[in-house]
């Protein structure tokens, strides 16, 4: 039976489809077939931020069963702060109850009203492309062509801007001295972060994103707290980019890039990623390969053990489990890992510790 490992995309050109979904049902304002730019608002929705319960029967001095007749707003109707939602007229004049919030009257029953303070959220396209499907009120599907880079970890933010690569080699650490004001508004890529020192400089410059090959695990809380998207592509530590990732970024420096640093979620099947939109001719390139079996000639990244983070090519696969140095038994692959400058070293790696690079 073929072994199917996880796949990490370092894809130079593919047709990509990404769903953009509102957090709650709302309104989609684009249509299928429409061309959208990254900053275009494609949908919006009203999100409740807090709720208020009003006992308007008591406020009007009425029995609960009689109070509902005094409502002047319908369930679901928007309300402004200070706007009357119920009132009664009597011999001594009018008594009214007003909304304490800007929002919506959610429901009213038996003299009580539930109001939601609301705010409007806008959903932007995020990346340029063509809307190929619309789920009314919920989501759209955007198709684009370009390079795809899967990440390991992300801090939950996203942005779209120009990519700038810092450093000449994959392992180059981010040097605060490189952070000139000309980088303001750019998404920066650097091999690694070896200390938290550059983070303040990045904030001062005003970058719109950061792509790192690696960063020490102890810096993760600080990276998570940044207000711009942060993506780690390869490993935790200070090893920097793997060569294929560095090559992809170097080849696309200066182009616009969508950085979606959503945290990896295995149950949703999502992982952080960067997409660099690229023009193509009439024929669309194929979508990225997924779910391919492990086989000779495939490019792989080692995920665990002394060779972790190294990239290589599969030379052969064992047919049966073999004993590892620690006594465990597992099927293994012979992998020629890249040593740099064209040289290679052959190592043995359990199938389970490999991911395909596509």
């Amino acid at each position: 039976m073929a072994y199917i490992p996880s796949t990490s995309h370092v894809t130079l050109l593919a047709t990509l489809r990404r769903e953009r979904t509102l957090p709650v049902p709302g309104e989609v304002i684009v249509r299928a077939g429409q061309r959208v730019e990254a900053s275009d608002v494609v949908a919006h929705a009203e999100v409740s931020t807090a709720h208020r319960l009003l006992d308007f029967a008591r406020a009007l001095g009425l029995a609960a069963e009689k109070a509902d007749a005094c409502l002047v707003k319908q369930e679901g109707e928007p309300v402004k702060k200070g706007e009357v939602i119920a009132q009664k007229s009597g011999l001594l004049g009018r008594r009214s109850v007003t909304s304490p919030v800007d929002g919506r009257l959610v429901m009213a029953h038996a003299g009580k009203a539930l109001l939601a303070a609301t705010t409007t959220v806008e959903l932007r396209a995020g990346l340029p492309g063509t809307v190929v499907n619309v789920l009314p009120g919920r989501s759209i599907l955007i198709e684009t062509t370009g390079a795809l880079l899967d990440g390991l970890w992300g801090n939950g933010r996203e942005d779209f801007s120009v990519l700038r690569l810092l450093g000449e080699v994959p392992e180059a650490p981010l040097d605060p001295a490189q952070l000139e004001l000309s980088l303001r508004g750019a998404i920066l890529a650097a091999g690694c972060l070896d200390s938290p020192a550059p983070l303040r400089a990045l904030a001062e410059v005003g970058v719109r994103g950061l792509i790192l090959g690696s960063a020490p695990a102890e810096l993760v809380p600080e990276l998570a707290a940044q207000t711009y998207p942060v993506l780690i592509t390869d490993r935790f530590g200070v090893q920097g980019f793997s060569q294929p990732v560095f090559n992809l970024l170097a080849g696309n420096a200066g182009r616009e890039l969508w950085l979606d640093a959503s945290p990896p979620n295995r149950f949703a099947g999502t992982r952080p990623e960067a997409i660099i939109p690229l023009p193509v001719g009439h024929e669309l390139p194929p979508p990225p390969l997924e779910g391919e079996p492990l086989k000779e000639g495939k490019r792989v990244r080692v995920l665990r053990g002394p060779q972790a983070g190294r990239v290589g090519t599969i030379l052969g696969l064992s047919e049966r489990p073999v004993s590892l140095p620690n006594g465990l038994r597992a099927p293994v692959a012979a992998v020629a890992v890249d040593e740099g400058r064209g040289s290679r070293q052959t190592v043995t790696v359990p199938f389970a510790n490999l991911e395909l690079l596509e």
């Binding site: 199917i4 149950f267 590892l324 140095p325 359990p350």
Partner: protein, 585 residues
């Protein structure tokens, strides 16, 4: 049952874990149910597959490769009952621990009564409690509503009121839950399990029935001093079943084959543990632990009562980071023979969680995996013990009660290259007292047998009696005052052939008296004054050991609680000594 009634002979069990899908085949051999073989494959419950049946198919292919028996027909449908060619199975049972964490809100009247029972119910399954609301909650009703909406629960467990007791307060809470349901996403709709005052069940259903997927359940607290979890647990299992069927493709069809339900793995294991405890008739308890990729479960039974705890955030794979975050880093590193910085621990936890399928390749990495298993077990045990009865017999209230039998399971234990390593993890993490048989569930049979017991209880008993679980041996753990170098206990083993082995076990040491599986012997234990080996302080005992094990008889004189040397070099030396004693390497 009539003599002609259908008695299933071939039972196929499947377990869907977060990381692996396993199948086990049981059949009648010479009139007795036996474990035949297993198959295992990576689970396909998450994207890009999101279909449990794909992983099942791969696991069945492995099973077929071992047994030569096909379970699926040409259309990849399960063959049932067994056909004339001997293909297929008579009964298919399934268990599952797979899926995203189930976000759960607990709503009850009093924290120490209904809410406590609701929490126990939640902690006996794969739920993560994200919000709690009770009558003593100082937040205003609208703040409680905001909290529930913000928590975005998948499930709400609403409890409160003894049967025929408080009703208005329960209805008030139901109103808060109802308002929250009104404001929560409707796709999917939140599920509400009502396990409170049964007298107001219909009124609560009126409030919630059209706003949520409402599941009435027996009361978790029918009387103030009486907690009943079995009925609510069964309803909760069904609710989870329905929820998972909406999240994971293929489960609904598989549940159909499995008689309508896929049991939570921990619950199936727990059922079996309770059954074994009931039939054992011992005052001592019975314990099973399972360290999984995403969760760790502890099933303990005392006097026929099951105490089931699932630590849904502690695991050695997907939730490795949760396990490491559960305690200071030194709690983890103390089990390692070589130093690891806090940053390296963090990186290990993060990468382990992001790549849960990976395997350790060298000895140091394997020790990290074992340390993680110890840590997950310690954390889960701490949670579990909070629910155990104080009356359980034991050497000291602060130590683990006496268990006649301890069964370890989960990939970290079952894949250990040496049985002694699995035994050492159990001894280090659980720190048993007295005399306990140690078994290893290498083929992940407990949940399968627990589920199979519903179809045929005798099958489970006969399979266990046939030695399907691996016997590690007998653990004798000494408790009492002693200084390093003192002889804590002398032990003499006379095997069935009359061969005698003796050991004078010193404080801080582990000793092994070899007694292979299938061999019996007579063991004499003479503890030092004040030291208890399970029969009272200073009391000697001679008893028959019916069966040895892959490790033998382990005398653990390292003390309880187990204190490791603070000096790193001394600690590393001790760890190496203990590992060598039990594994020979």
């Amino acid at each position: 049952m009539s003599a002609n009634a259908f008695r299933p002979e071939t039972i196929l069990a499947a377990d869907f874990g977060t990381a692996s899908t396993r199948v086990s085949l049981f059949d009648v051999v010479e009139g007795t149910f036996r474990y035949i073989a297993s198959g295992e494959a990576p689970s396909t419950v998450t994207p890009p597959y999101s279909d449990a049946s794909e992983g099942l198919r791969h696991a069945l292919q492995e099973l077929e490769a071992v047994t030569g028996r096909a379970m699926l027909d040409e259309s990849a449908r399960l063959i049932t009952p067994v056909n004339d060619d001997g293909r297929g199975c008579d009964v298919f049972v399934a268990t599952s621990s797979a899926g995203a964490p189930v976000r759960t809100a607990l709503v009850g009247l009093l924290p120490d009564v209904s809410l406590k029972s609701a929490r126990r119910l939640a902690e006996s399954s794969y739920l993560t409690v994200v919000e709690t609301i009770s009558l003593v909650d100082r937040r205003r009703m609208e703040q409680q509503l905001d909290a529930l909406v913000k928590a975005r629960p998948d499930v709400v467990i609403l409890a409160g009121g003894t049967d025929g007791g408080a009703s208005q307060a329960v209805l008030n809470l139901a109103e808060v839950v109802g308002l929250a349901c009104l404001r929560l996403p409707t796709d999917p709709r939140v599920r509400v399990l009502f396990a409170g005052n049964s007298a107001v069940k219909d009124k609560v259903a009126e409030v919630l029935g059209h706003l949520a997927l409402f599941a009435p359940s027996p009361n978790v607290r029918p009387e103030l001093g009486r907690e009943l979890l079995d009925g609510p647990r069964a309803e909760l299992a069904q609710l989870l079943n329905d929820l998972r069927a909406t999240q994971i493709g293929g489960l609904r069809e598989l549940a159909h084959y499995a008689g309508g339900q896929i049991l939570p793995t921990a619950q199936a294991e727990g059922q079996l543990i309770r059954f074994l405890n009931q039939t054992a008739g011992s005052a001592n308890g019975l314990l099973s632990v399972n360290v999984g990729s995403a969760s760790t479960s502890i099933a303990a039974a005392f006097n026929g009562e099951l105490y089931l705890t699932v630590a849904a955030e502690l695991g050695v794979g997907v939730n490795a980071h949760g396990t490491l975050a559960d305690a200071p880093a030194e709690q983890f590193t103390r089990w390692l023979p070589s130093a690891l910085s806090e940053a390296e621990v963090q990186a290990f936890g993060l990468e382990r969680s992001l790549h849960p399928h990976t395997v350790p390749v060298d000895a140091d990495d394997l020790q990290r995996e074992y340390a993680l298993a110890r840590q997950a077990l310690r954390g889960a045990l701490r949670r579990a013990r909070a629910h155990w009865p104080r009356s359980a017999p034991g050497a000291r209230a602060d130590l683990l009660p006496y268990f006649d039998l301890i069964i370890g399971g989960g990939a970290a234990l079952s894949h250990a290259p040496h049985a002694g390593a699995a035994a050492l993890i159990l001894l280090d993490a659980l720190q048993p007292t007295g005399v306990a048989d140690l078994l290893l569930d290498r083929a992940h049979l407990l949940a399968a047998l627990g589920a199979a017991a519903y179809a045929n209880p005798m099958a489970a008993v006969q399979v266990l009696e046939s030695g399907a679980l691996m016997r590690l041996g007998l653990a004798v753990s000494a408790v009492g005052p002693a200084r390093d170098g003192d002889t804590v206990c002398t032990a003499k083993l006379v095997d069935a052939d009359g061969r005698e082995t003796t050991a004078a076990v010193k404080a801080g040491a582990l000793e092994v008296l070899p007694l292979p599986s299938g061999q019996s012997g007579r063991l004499t234990l003479k503890p030092r004054a004040g030291v208890d080996v399970g029969f009272g302080p200073g009391r000697a005992q001679t008893f028959d050991v019916a069966n040895g094990g892959a490790v033998g008889i382990v005398i653990d004189a390292r003390g309880r609680p187990l204190n490791l040397p603070k000096d790193p070099a001394a600690r590393a030396e001790r760890l190496q000594q203990w590992h060598f004693k039990l594994t020979g390497v």
